[in-house]
Amino acid sequence: MKKIGLVVNPVAGMGGSVGLKGTDGDFYRKALKLGAKPVAPFRTENFISNVKHRKDIHFYSAPEKMGEDILKNTDLKYTVIGSIEKQTTAEDTKKIIRLLLKEKIDLLVFVGGDGTARDVYDAEGLEVPVIGVPSGVKVFSSVFALSARSAAAMLDRFLNGVELKEEEVLDIDEEAFRNNILSARLYGYLKVPMLKDLLQVGKKASSTGYSAKENKEEVSRYLEEQMERDVLYLLGPGTTMKSLTDRLGLDKTLLGIDAVLNGKLIQTDVNEMAILDLYQDYDKRKIIVTPLGGNGFIFGRGSRQFTPEILSKTGKENIILAGDRDKVSCLDCLHIDTGDLEVDKSMSGYAKVVVGYGETVVLEVKY
């Protein structure tokens, strides 16, 4: 019997139908006034009804509309934990998750969007694996399953024992997003079950035959072969870069920027000052970064270490982009927004993203 935690953000996703991009802060009430209907209960039901191994699990659920209300009408075993406010907030989510951790849950299922994923990260970090059921308006973080159904498939797979991997939690500036400006920052990582065929839905669409892990290995093998001697490489955050450093036998900071020269880690977690110092010593330098899944952000207000000054010193020709094939294949374009229009302009045009061994996707970079 596995103990599965359940936390639903009841208001996640309500802004979308009425054209609001998110329900943070006052926008929740605004969404209600505009006639928005709850989406999260529907997504949760959809998730729950698709779970197959129903006898092997016991849910530990948040109360009322944060989980209990949906479990009530099912054949599933569950225990309700803690209590919540009438108007639920992020604090309720975090409080309940901390209580669930005390119950020694094996896995946490949460229903919501990027904001909810951040709350989960705040409350538990990498302590227990999670399954994210997408319900928010902004679901850019790659911790989420493709759909409620694939989330259910993930849970079934988890019960049979499955590898885990770390996926991104993003922080999207909601105010900016409302104004159609995409600004994202890597907020953290959560552990999720690895499900090879998660993305393989349609018959014709499914024939890539590569797992995310194999894909990362392919990309990093190619990048390693392309790396030149006596060039300073600044490796951005993320798991694609981590698979490159794993390959090189180096220990990378997952969220930071690390400096590599001739196969050796010469400095970790560098900030702008440290990069400028390094640039004094090395005149051949390249930056390797991963576009963010969902919005294709390469440099933005979030990734502060790569400042406009550093980017203009590096030059567009010395920027290498590399990422997960499935994620990059879904991007309509790349985005840059460093705050310096001249720099953004100089980096715009078309760019190649390495997505496999010798395989690239060419996308427009918009600013």
Partner: protein, 334 residues
Amino acid sequence: MEPLRLHLNELPWPPPKEVLDAARKGLEKLNRYSDEKKLQELMFKLGDYTGIASERIILSPGSDILLREAVHLFTQQRKVVTLCPSFLPTVTSARQTTNQLTRLRLSLPDFRLNMDLLKSELEGPCLLILDNPNNPTGKIVISPDEVKTLLEKEDVLLIVDEAYYEFSGITCANLVEKYPNLLVTRTMDKVFSLAGARIGFGLAGDVFLKKLSDFFIYLPQIALYACLAALDKKELMKERVNFIIEERKRLVEKLLTEGVEVYDTSANFILINSPIPEVVEELKKEGILITDLSHQMPQGFIRITIGKAEENNQFFNKFQKLRNRFGLTKKYDE
């Protein structure tokens, strides 16, 4: 009940009686490989249909198989350039054989292919594969004149996949006589109502012709007989195509009036970008199959094949019902 199939870009009607009768004749000869004379006859008929010398016609059990074969034969030591999104089996074939694969993104809102960008990618020996109209955007990405300029480069081999030619009316077929480095692929599966027969064909320039005609292709008997008869029913085919085009326009108009983000195409399908969660699954529950494009397009994109009028209405109504459930059908003022 059988689900409504709006997911594979098939035609909604079965073949006419004459074609079914012919297929039955083929069925009776199932102990035999197909007759060389009949195969010759098919090549003549296809030559007649396309206006190309019949010696240039390469038969294949499905154009996807021909595309795969051509890709496997011509990617060694070549860089492959293609589109993203595009017909995925072809991309997958290329991935199996080349270590230099570049896909050019077709971006919203008009999915235009930037010709300067494309030309800059065609350095050294390369194989360029374009589905035109493109699947899934349904756009004509290149004109025959632009194709000519690309074919002037000797190092470039070009495959133009014209699976939806009859809907777009735009073709590079006549260029294969002049340009050895061009292969145009077509299919009987879509507009002739023969998806289950699986017959595709190529119109090959000399470079392609030389290698692709190394093997004699015995097509399946039933498919061969059906195809021969179908090519005598070109008027019916044209009527069907025109009907689908009219229906496509009608459905697009209707969706636009409702404020749906819909993209018209030059093929027998349309694209919709919808915020409805799990819209593909939801429609499946209602007995309607459509295609999820989330592997190649931003989240929310779906492809819907145009069917008979009542089928399109059925889709429209179910889709509206879903939109209603998510509060998308009313317009709100702040």
